[in-house]
């Protein structure tokens, strides 16, 4: 298990208190789960993602991440329409473990209200949340 000071917490993403991350890329928001989340889950063996074109509100469950031990829900950091999913995770679910902010991304969202990003946690606020867990 990683110590808090070993966690990768990039400056260019924001976090939810359910351990998803969201990164603004142009008009879209890319979403995945944090290094802390993947470390807690262990080997990710299956990722269930929504259909492209489906819409969710902030906080809605949009899929599941399955590890050897458990199945966990993943929640929308912002409201919007799913415009892309990471097809590569079907054959390489382990990308969520090895590169959670890169090749392990999950969905890309066209946000309905980009200001929802402001309500998410920055690196320091997220770290504080982890210290309290």
């Amino acid at each position: 298990m990683k110590e808090l000071n070993e966690l990768i917490l990039p400056e260019d993403v924001k976090f939810t208190d359910e351990h998803e991350w969201a990164r603004v890329e142009g008009d879209h928001v890319r979403v995945g789960i944090s290094d802390y989340a993947q470390d807690q889950l262990g080997d990710v063996v299956f990722v269930e993602l929504p259909e492209v074109g489906s819409s969710f509100n902030k906080g809605d469950e949009f899929g599941t991440v399955e590890s050897v031990k458990t199945v966990s829900e993943i929640y929308m950091p912002v409201s919007g329409e799913v415009v892309a999913i990471n097809e590569e995770l079907a054959d390489h679910p382990e990308y969520v473990n090895t590169d959670p902010y890169g090749k392990g991304w999950m969905i890309e969202v066209a946000p309905s209200d980009l200001s929802e990003m402001d309500s998410l946690l920055d690196k320091n606020a997220y770290l504080k949340l982890l210290e309290e867990e």
């Binding site: 080997d43 063996v45 050897v68 031990k69």
Partner: protein
């Protein structure tokens, strides 16, 4: 929370730790999937010092175990029903008067009128008390050995090769070492045909384990636990020996159709399940060859639930909680799910399930994993019958099966593993 002598070692490796049976135990070190696979293809080492031992000794030790343990010790070995003898051990359960499981156990006969019952974590006191309750008028001593014995399991096809590098006189130790036999001992635990020395350290070596794969359980003095563990890992490095946590142990045992006590067997009748070989049925399969605690309740019972193994279409699981349901083909709720894990060492090619260790696996076969486990349902079902398992979030399609992971190695003769 309690710890085993290896706790500091686990934490130094950065293991993901969790509470199990009152102990702080490793769930996995770096990868539960790789740990599971290493036991199928090479070997894995498990800290099992959280398990408890109960020593039963004295002139009436045999009579007490005959009264309380589900196996008939006069006829429990092999197809010819030979009696238990020093150097042999046997799996069974301790039941209460209602025929419900108090715990499962492996009973080792160490010598004349000397037995060791190995039970689950936290159950040493419970079983010692249970035995004491039925020992009135018996000339027997019962000792709870919780936290007083070091134990680890080496499991997987290369286990004997790892041990061979460390054992004194390995040929002699491995001679006639059939499944569920043991040799050696240590001070306070003198077993048969000893001593067995691992780098000079006395151990009790048992050809058993709880993964369904070839391997051994190793008992030693508590003070030698870390030393034996480290020497095994060092000797096993070149053979791919991997330290393994409880996650891999759980998925390996489920794939091998072995129950987890208090989850797959527990406070309900021990009937209509894959493990009733542990009951002392007579040739008619309708009566028992001895009287024992809980036996009459089982014989009198009708309408007990059925516990059946299942295997999934893919690796997806359902979560186990009170809302998890089993539905039949008519979408009727017929029971609950006891265990649901992914065996990452198996996969389907067409309708056939192969293991990563199957000798006849198709070229290029890579297992993608299959969910598996046990359901408890109100009616008996045939092999191949389709079920739906549903938790609050998803439904998965599974089928009833008699066996899960094919080509397991637990019973392969030791000579083929050297």
């Amino acid at each position: 929370m309690k710890t085993t002598p290896l706790n500091a070692w686990h934490r130094r490796q950065g293991a993901n730790m969790a509470e199990f049976g009152g102990y702080d135990m490793p769930l996995w070190y770096s990868s539960a999937k790789n740990e599971h696979l290493s036991v199928l293809t090479h070997a894995g080492l498990f800290d099992t010092s959280h398990m408890a031992g109960v020593a039963v000794e004295g002139p009436d030790a045999f009579a007490l175990l005959q009264r309380c343990f589900s196996r008939d010790l006069t006829r429990c070995l092999g197809p010819l029903n030979h009696p238990l003898k020093p150097g042999r051990c046997v799996y069974g359960v301790f039941l209460n008067e209602e025929g419900h499981v108090v715990d499962d156990a492996i009973v080792y006969q160490l010598g004349e009128a000397r037995y060791l019952c190995v039970v689950n974590a936290g159950m040493g006191g419970v079983i010692a008390q249970h035995l004491t309750q039925y020992a009135e008028g018996f000339n027997v001593s019962i000792h709870d050995l919780t936290d007083r014995v070091g134990k680890m399991d080496i499991q997987g096809p290369l286990s004997a090769k790892v041990l061979k590098a460390l054992l004194k006189d390995p040929e002699k130790v491995f001679e006639n070492m059939i499944y569920f036999s043991f040799k050696g001992g240590f001070p306070g635990f003198d077993g048969p045909e000893g001593p067995v020395l691992l780098d000079g350290i006395p151990i009790l070596l048992s050809r058993s384990g709880y993964t369904g794969e070839f391997g051994f359980e190793i008992f030693t003095d508590l003070s030698h636990t870390v030393e034996v563990w480290e020497r095994l890992l060092k000797a096993g490095e070149v053979l791919g020996l991997t330290p393994c946590g409880l996650a891999a142990r759980d998925s390996l045992r489920a794939g091998a159709v072995l129950p987890l006590s208090h989850q797959d067997i527990g406070h309900w009748p021990f009937l209509n399940n894959p493990w009733t070989f542990a009951l002392p049925y007579d040739d008619t399969q309708k009566g028992f060859t001895k009287e024992f605690v809980g036996g009459q309740a089982l014989l009198d019972m009708t309408g007990a639930d059925y516990t059946l193994p299942f295997i999934g279409k893919d690796l997806r699981k359902v979560s186990i909680d009170h809302e998890t349901q089993v539905l039949d083909k008519n979408q009727e709720v017929i029971g609950t799910v006891l265990t649901c894990v992914s065996d990452m060492g198996i996969g389907r090619v067409g309708d056939t399930v192969y293991s990563i260790a199957s000798p006849d696996k198709p070229a290029g076969f890579t297992p993608r994993g299959l969910s598996c486990g046990f359901v408890k349902v109100h009616q008996n079902l045939n092999e191949g019958e389709a079920l739906e398992l549903r938790d609050g979030r998803r439904a998965i399609r599974v089928t009833v099966t008699y066996d899960i992971r094919p080509d397991r190695t637990a019973r392969v003769p030791i000579q083929k593993m050297l």
